[in-house]
Each structure stands twice: as C-alpha cells, then as structure tokens.
Amino acid sequence: MPTGFPTRALAILLLILLPAPLVIVVGASFSPRALLEFPPPGFSWRWYLEFLSTPAWLTAFGVSAAIALASAVLTTLAALGAALALQDAPSRLRAAAETAILAPLLFPHAALGIGFLGWLILAEMNGTGWGILIAHLVLCAPFAYRPIAVSLAQIDRSLPEAATILGAGPGQTFWRITLPLLQPGIAASLLFGFIISFDEVTVSMFLVGPEVTTLPVTIYARLNDSADPVVAAISSILILLTAGLVLLMDRLVGLRIFVDVEEEGRRPAA
C-alpha cells in the first residue's frame, strides 16, 4: 500500500468525511425553522439567541467552563510536580509510578463512571461540581503528564548544570531555565486538560445531579428527547471553540505534539 492513487483517494475521502458531520451541524444551526435541515432553508441567528436567553444552557456552559479551567490548571500542576519528582528517580520506581499515572487510560469509561459514583455517593459528593471535578482531574492526569514528561526529557541537562555552575540557586535554575524550556509541554497539558474536561460526557453523565450538570451532558439529555436546532447552535459554538483551541495549539506548540506524545506515552506502558 504505497501512497499510490487508491491510498490517496481513500485518504482524501476520509479527510472530507471526518469533519463532514460537524459541517452539517453548523449548517443546520442557522435554520430559521424548528426542523433540523441541511442545507438550511434560510439564514437566521434564531437558535443562537434562544441559547443565549435560556438560563439552563448558560449555567451548564458556565459549569463546564469552570470545571475545565480548574481541571487544566490543577492537573498541569500535579503533572509538573510528578514529572520533576520522577526525573532522577530509580528507573523501576519511575516505571511503577508512570504505570499508576497512566492507568486510567486502560479502563473503560463506563466502568469508571460507576466506580466514581459509588464512593462519591458515600462522600455525599454525587451531583456536585466537586465530584465531577475530581473525576475529570483523574481522567486528565495522563494527558497532562505525558507532554510535560516528554518536554522534560528533551531538555539538555547541561543547561541547568551550567546555570548551577554559574552560581544560580536551585530555585533560580528552575524558574529561569527549566520552566521556560518546559513551556511547550505545559501549554499542551493545559490545552489537553481543558478540552478533555470540557468535552467529557461518558463519566460525567453518572455524576451530574439536578443542581449541577455539564454542557455535554445537557446536550445529551436534550438529544434523547428531541434533536432541535438549538442543540445544533450550541454544538456549533463547541465546534468553533475546539477548532480555535486546535489552531492555538498549532501556533503555540505545533500539532506534532499530539503525535509525539502518543509514541512516547506508549513506550513505558509496553
């Protein structure tokens, strides 16, 4: 299967099909009628205005954004600490710790959802933002750890050494040498954390309650009743937000990090 015509044709077809359902959703969101239609029979902002004037949708959006922001920042800090702690650790200890950090990747989310629900009920935290946040922190941790660990491993060790020799204290070396060099990994970790938490639905759907719910779970609940253009409008906002973050990632660290992280991440696990 060298890259001859059939391979190229199939690849191009897939590159059209992958974003196609999203394009359809965005198109249908501008329909002036109450029916989901593509191409839309006209153009209106009607459903966007309905989204903006429905408190329940706005609250869900706010909850999701707040949890995603907290997840991104907190998991990045935890991952940074863990990566630094494991940097010079004996290799067996390091391998064991990394297996533990990456373990959530090996469990089906439906089972994890029930697992979290079980102890959050006992702790009386089911149906609260805190319960959802804890679950998201656990789910984001592997995605925060990998880019930071990859970045840390790529740092030329002679640079911090040079700083120390030139008289910098450990704090100075960290803040002025190591941390700036870790920027790509930290940026990737923050963006990963935000996106994963903001989109998460499979685990969250077990943990939401009548008072606190996230945007994807609200969309899911609405779709279960009826698929109408207001859902398309909200979905379009999510699509736009995600595309914006991907472009930001492209600018800040390059999309190659997605690919590199994948390879590095599987190595210790294998």
């Binding site: 959703v25 863990a82 200890l93 950090i101 989109d199 499979t202 994807p216 995600t242 599987r266």
Partner: protein, 270 residues
Amino acid sequence: MSGRRLLLFAPMGLLIAAFTLSVAGLLWSSLSHGGPALYAELLMDAGIQRVLWRTVWIAVVTTAISALLGYPLALFLARSPNRNLWLILVISPWLVSIVVRTFGWMVLLGNRGVINNALRNWGLLDAPIRMLFTPTAVLIGLVHVFLPFMVIAILSSLLMQDRKLEEAGRILGGTRWQTFTRVTLPLSMPGVIGGCSLVLLMATGAIVTPLLLGGLRDRMLGTQIYSEIFQIYNFDRATAMAVLLLVTALVLVAPLRLLEARIRHRLEGV
C-alpha cells in the same frame, strides 16, 4: 524518595488514590452487595448474554474497520508535505465532544435526515430508508469517533521509522509493494496494535454513541449499565455489569498488549 520529591509527587499521588478508590470501590461493592450469585444470574440471563455478545462484535468490527481505514490515511499523512494542514482536519473533529459528533450523524442518518432527504429529492427513493437506530448506524458513529485515535497512533509509529530502511529496500531491488509489506508495514505494527487496543477498549465501554444512534433496543454493555442506573435504579446490577465490562475489556485488550510488547521487543532488538 527524598522528602522534597515526595512533596512534589503528592498532588499526583492524590489523583492516583482517587482513581484507585474508584476501581477498588467498584470491585468491593460488587462483591459485598451482589456477590457471586448476582454474577451467575447476570451471566445466565439470555438478554445480558446477547448484550455481551453484541458489545464484543461491535467493538471488534469497529476496531477492524478503523485499522483498515486508518492505515492508508496515516500513510498519506506521513508522506504528505502538507501534513500540518491535514492534521488539523483529523485533530479538530477528534477533540470535539463525542455528543456533538454523534449528533451530526443523527442529523445525517435520520428518517428525515440529510441523506434520506437528498435521495428523495433526487427521486431515488419513495419511502425513507431506516438508518438511525440500527447496528450499522452505531458502527458508523463509533468508527467516526475513534478513527482519529487510530490514525494518530499509526502516524506516530510511521514517523518514528528511519526512511533509510525503505530506501534500502528499494535500492536492493524490492518493488514498492514489496518494500511496503516487508519493511514499512512490519515496522509500523506497534502503532497499529497500539491503536487497535485503544479503540477496542473505548468501543467496548462506549455509551453515548450506541444510545443515540442505536436506541434502547440494540444495547451494548455501556448503555445497559446506563439504563440500569437511570431507568431501573438498580445500583447493584449496574455495579456488577461495570465489573463485567472491565473484565471484558481487559480480556479483549490483553492479547493485543502482549503482542505489542513482543513486537516492540523484537524491533528494538534489531
């Protein structure tokens, strides 16, 4: 571990503890509340057996289709000079919430959806074809949702390859096809198998896509768990089924993981 290191690792340690608590709690509560009797009851239940079987075949077929489609696409991306541009088309849909992507397929596949409407407008159909709420719809949705994972995994191992090996194959008189089957493909197998185990795991535990595209009739394990909790309110059965899901996923994925480790070992030994 020194005290400073332990302190740095502590936040990540808390997350590992939260994860461990969920899994351990799941196992403990399934044994203490239902116990072996409940498992026996579930496994003897013809309905559950069908759900289990459907989960396995849908997950396996999803994985196989994703690998067959994902490989040519990854190969195309690996060789394309405009890789970054194409990667945006793969990564953006990948990061959009599963609910939104599944919603796109509801709009496409519904009885009054885009495909049926188009076919009717062109005079090709009198009555709509039923596509939504069929296993085919679930397969299409799952492949769409998980294909990017497969592509990224395969791409990462294609990009790791030393292109000189391929050149050597060609110089030594191999045809393009021979060079592909004897050099490129074997060297990229860790990525293929890694991608397969990831997709298999996620497809086994999927909830949202099978619920929205397959409906309540053709259930998978994830959707069964969901309805045990939210429609039947039977927490014990849901817990036992979550354990069943965990075991099923591990049994399906374990051989792939072993294979991946062996292939990596062999490739790195060269």
